[in-house]
Symmetry: C3
Subunit: 352 residues, 3 copies
C-alpha cells in the first residue's frame, strides 16, 4: 500500500519562507522539491533534482523566473522546461523538471503532489483566521522525527491533554474523561469535546484569571491529508452559556505534511480574538503552544522509536481511539481508491 | 538460530539504579524494559512499550505500585494488568503489559527474560563479595558497542592481559605464555591460570611495593549467560605458597548482559580484602579496573567494526582460544536446546 | 556487477603519511588495509583485520619489519605469515594475513588490490611533476562522502568550472561553452579544452595581473582507475601563441581512490613552474585549489544524496557528457572483462 495520499493539497511552506531570491529546498512525501517565487509572486514547485546529473537545484541560482543548476549550467523555466544548455544549441526535450501545482491561500503555500489534472483548489480548506482582522497570532513550525499518522492520532484524541500536557494545556484528568463526539465528513472527521465544570488549565489561568471552575470546548475539523481547524475556548461556569464576555476564544490552524515515512513538517498557529493589541498575550499564546507541542514531539518521537523497535507488535484499542480510527480508515480508503483508479478519486468538497 | 539464551538470569541493574520514583528504561536482549520498585522494595520489570499506542512507560508516572502511561493515561499494576482507562468503564483484558520475573541478590537486580514458569532463583550464582564485611569495592558500569560474545571471548582468554593491558593489568608476556586449565561445568566453564615468577603488573606494583619476582593466580567461573566470578591475586615468589601475609587478594563480580545484537551492558566491581579502611586503595582499584576495561572496550568495539565490515570472513583458532571455544559451544548448545524444547532445558544448578 | 576494478594501481597514501613506527589504517575498495614501512623503506600493505579474532592490526605494535596484534599477541612478518603466537610452539599455517603489492613512485604510495601475479608497475602513470626541480607544489588530501565515479564525472567535464567554481577557477560561462575534444586511450581518455579570448578567472587574475582577455588551455589524461594528469595554463591573448613568457603554467596530479561504495579518498596537488622561490605563490595556489575542491565536494556530496534518495531515476545526457560517458564505458568494460577472465585483462600500457 502507498504510504501517502497524492491527490490532495498539502501545506508546503509559510509564505514568508519563500522571499526574493530564495531557493527553498524541502522534502515532501519523500520527494525533494525546490520552491521559488516568480516575479508575479506565484510560487514554483519543481523537483529539486536536476535531471541532467542529479545535482540539487536549490544550490543553483534564480535568474528571473528561471532557475539555473550551478553544476553544469542547465537553466529551467517555471514550467520545468530546460531553456539553456551551455555550449549546446539543440536542447533534448527530455531535459525537463517535473513541476507541481501550487496555490497560496492566506499565508500558507499549498502543493498538489498527485495528478496535476486533478488539482482543484476549491478543495483547500478555509483557514480564515490566517488572515482576518479580528484575530492575532504568530506563525510556527516544528520538525518531528516520526510518521505523520502518529501526529494525526495525537490530534484526533484530545484525551492526551490531561497527561502529555498536564502542566500546560491540561490541568486535570477531566478532558480525558469527557467523551468526544466524532462525525465523519467526506474528506475528514469533525470532533467535538465539551468539558464542563473543570479546573482551568495552567495556561488559561495565566491569561484569564478565572475564579472557580470553568467550561471548556474543543471543536475541530480534521481534513485529509492532515489539516486541523480548531475552535476552542474556556469560560467561567458561573456565566450563562451564551455570554462570551469573559471567555477566552481561540482558533488554531495546523497542518501536518509528511517529509519522509519517518519525519514530518508541522505548520501551526493559534489565534486569539481578545486583547488584540496586547503583544504580550499573542507572544505568550504562541510560546505556550510551542512548549506544549514540544511535549507532543517528545512523546511521539519516543513512540516512533518503540514502534521501530518491534514494528509487528499490535496496538490495543480503547474507547478514546474512536476519532483517530475513523480518520485512519477514511485515509486508508482514499489511498486505496487512488492506487486503483487515480482518475476517479472522489474529490467531493468538504461538507461545511 | 536465536542470538540470546532466554531461560536464564541476566543482571539488569545495580540496586541503586532503581530508587524511589525512578522509572528506569533499559533495553535487554533487544527488548525495551521498564524497571521500578514497589513499596515493599521488590522490583517490577515490565515491557516499556504501552500496549495501547506504544508510548514508552518510563516517560509515565509511578503511582504507588502502579505505573501510568502519560500519553493517554492507561494505568497498569505490578502484574501488568491495566487497572484504569480514563473515560472508560470496561477495560479490555488485552490491555496488559508483559512482566518479567526479577530477583534481587546482594546489590544486583536480576531478570528472567524467558518462560516465567521456569524461573528458578536457585540458579543465580553466588556473588558473595557483593555483600561481605571482609571485602571492599565500588560499583561500576560500562556500555559496549559490541556483541556480548566478544566480551565473553575476552574474559575467557586472559592472554590478552599481556597485550591489551600491557601498561595496566599486564606488565609482561608471561600471562599469555602460561597455559590455562579449562574445565567445563554444567552451565559454564572454570578457568585457572597460575603465572609463576613474573614481574608484577604496574597496577600491582603501585599497591604492593613488591621487590623482585611475583607469583600471580587467576581462577574464575564463567557462568551462562555471562557472569564472571574471579578469584585473583599476587604475592612475592620469596614467600611460601601458603603464606598470604604479603599477598594482594581480589574477588571480582562481572556481568555482561546483551542490550541489542551489537551492544552490551557491563556491570562489574573488583573487591579487595586488604587495607579495608583505606578508601584510597578502594578508589584506586576501581579506577585501575575501569581504565583497563576501557582498553578492552576500545579493542572490542574496533573488533566489532572489523567483523561488521566482512561478517562472512572466518576466524583462525589458536591454543589460547580453548576456554572461549568451550564456552561458545556450551552456550550454543543451550540456545539450540531451548529453541527445540523450551520446557526441558537442563536447569542443572552450577557445580560448586 | 563489481563496483571496483581490482587489477590496477590505486594511490593509497602520500609517502609522508607512513613514517617511522606509523601503522596507518586506511579502507580502500571496502577493504580495511594496514600500511607500514619496513626498515629498507618499502611499504607493506596488509589486511588490517587480524585473522585470529579480527582485531585491527593498526591498534597493534610495529616490531622491526613485523607487526604484532595487541589483542592476543600474534606477530606477522612483512609477507603476512604469522611468526609468533604467545604460549604456543606450532603455528597453524592458516594464521596468515593477505598482503598486497605496493610501489612508491615520486611521493605517492600505490597499491594493487587484485591478483598479485598481474601487478605490473610499468602501468603506473608518470606523475613527473611530483618530483621535478622545475615545479613547486604542496600535497593535499580531501575525503568525499560520495561514490568515486561522481568525482570522475566531475573531472571529465570541465564545463562545471563556469558554475561550481564561478568565483574561483571559473570566472565566465566561456569554459562551459568551449567544446572539448575527447580521445580514447587504451586505459583512459584524453581531454583537451582550449578557451580563447575569455576573461581571466579570479584566481588567475590575482596571480598574473592580466590586462584584457586571456587564452586558457586544459589538456589532461584521465587514467583508469582515477588518475588525472593535467597540463593547464593561461596567457594574454595579446602575445603570440608560442610566447610563454607571461603565461601561468600548471601541472596537476590528482588521484581518486574508492574508500567504500559511498566514500572516496582524493589525493591531489597543483604545481606551478613560475616564481618558484615565492612561497606565497605556492601556498596561494594550494589554498585556491583546496577552496575550489571544497566547492566540488559540496555539490558532489549533495548529488550523492539526491541519487540515494531515488537510485532508480535516470539521468539525461547533454553534449558536455561525452568525456565522462566514454570513460564510464571504458571502465565498465574493464570491470566486466575482469570478472569474466581475470587472467587476460588487457594490461596495455597507456598510449603516450
Amino acid at each position: 500500500m502507498n504510504m501517502f495520499l497524492k491527490n490532495c493539497w498539502y501545506v508546503a511552506a509559510w509564505d514568508h519562507e519563500i522571499l526574493g531570491d530564495t531557493l527553498l529546498s524541502r522534502t515532501l512525501l519523500g520527494q525533494p522539491v525546490l520552491f521559488y517565487r516568480k516575479e508575479d509572486g506565484t510560487v514554483v514547485a519543481m523537483d529539486n533534482k536536476c535531471c541532467h546529473r542529479h545535482a540539487p537545484l536549490h544550490m543553483g541560482r534564480k535568474e528571473g523566473d528561471c532557475v539555473r543548476c550551478m553544476y553544469h549550467g542547465a537553466k529551467y523555466d517555471a514550467t520545468g522546461a530546460c531553456v539553456e544548455v551551455p555550449g549546446q544549441e539543440r536542447i533534448p526535450p527530455k531535459l525537463r523538471q517535473r513541476v507541481y501545482p501550487t496555490a497560496q491561500r492566506k499565508r500558507w503555500v499549498w502543493i498538489w503532489m498527485g495528478d496535476p489534472a486533478l488539482a482543484d483548489d476549491t478543495l483547500i480548506p478555509d483557514t480564515f483566521s490566517l488572515a482576518h482582522p479580528d484575530w492575532r497570532w504568530k506563525p510556527s513550525y516544528l520538525h518531528y522525527e516520526c510518521n505523520y499518522l502518529l501526529i494525526s492520532d495525537n490530534l484526533l484524541d484530545f484525551s492526551h491533554l490531561s497527561y502529555v500536557h498536564e502542566k500546560t494545556f491540561g490541568g486535570s484528568p477531566n478532558i480525558a474523561e469527557a467523551r468526544p463526539e466524532v462525525q465523519r465528513m467526506a474528506r475528514g472527521v469533525r470532533v467535538s469535546r465539551p468539558v464542563r465544570g473543570t479546573v482551568p488549565a495552567p495556561y488559561h489561568q495565566r491569561l484569564g484569571s478565572f475564579e472557580g471552575k470553568v467550561d471548556r470546548w474543543f471543536r475541530y475539523d480534521f481534513h485529509v491529508p492532515g489539516i486541523l481547524l480548531l475552535d476552542a475556548g474556556v469560560k467561567s461556569t458561573a456565566t450563562p452559556d451564551d455570554d462570551m464576555s469573559g471567555a477566552l476564544q481561540f482558533h488554531s490552524c495546523q497542518a501536518i505534511t509528511p517529509e519522509t515515512e519517518k519525519s514530518t513538517h508541522y505548520f501551526f498557529m493559534q489565534a486569539h480574538n481578545f486583547r488584540l493589541d496586547d503583544a504580550v498575550v499573542t507572544e505568550s499564546i504562541d510560546q505556550s503552544q510551542k512548549r506544549a507541542f514540544i511535549e507532543d514531539k517528545q512523546i511521539l518521537e519516543a513512540q516512533q522509536q518503540m514502534i521501530d523497535n518491534s514494528p509487528e507488535s499490535p496496538m490495543v484499542a480503547m474507547a478514546a481511539d474512536a476519532g483517530l480510527m475513523q480518520y485512519r480508515r477514511l485515509l486508508s480508503e482514499l489511498i486505496d481508491l487512488e492506487s486503483k483508479a487515480p482518475a476517479v478519486i472522489p474529490l467531493i468538497p468538504v461538507t461545511p
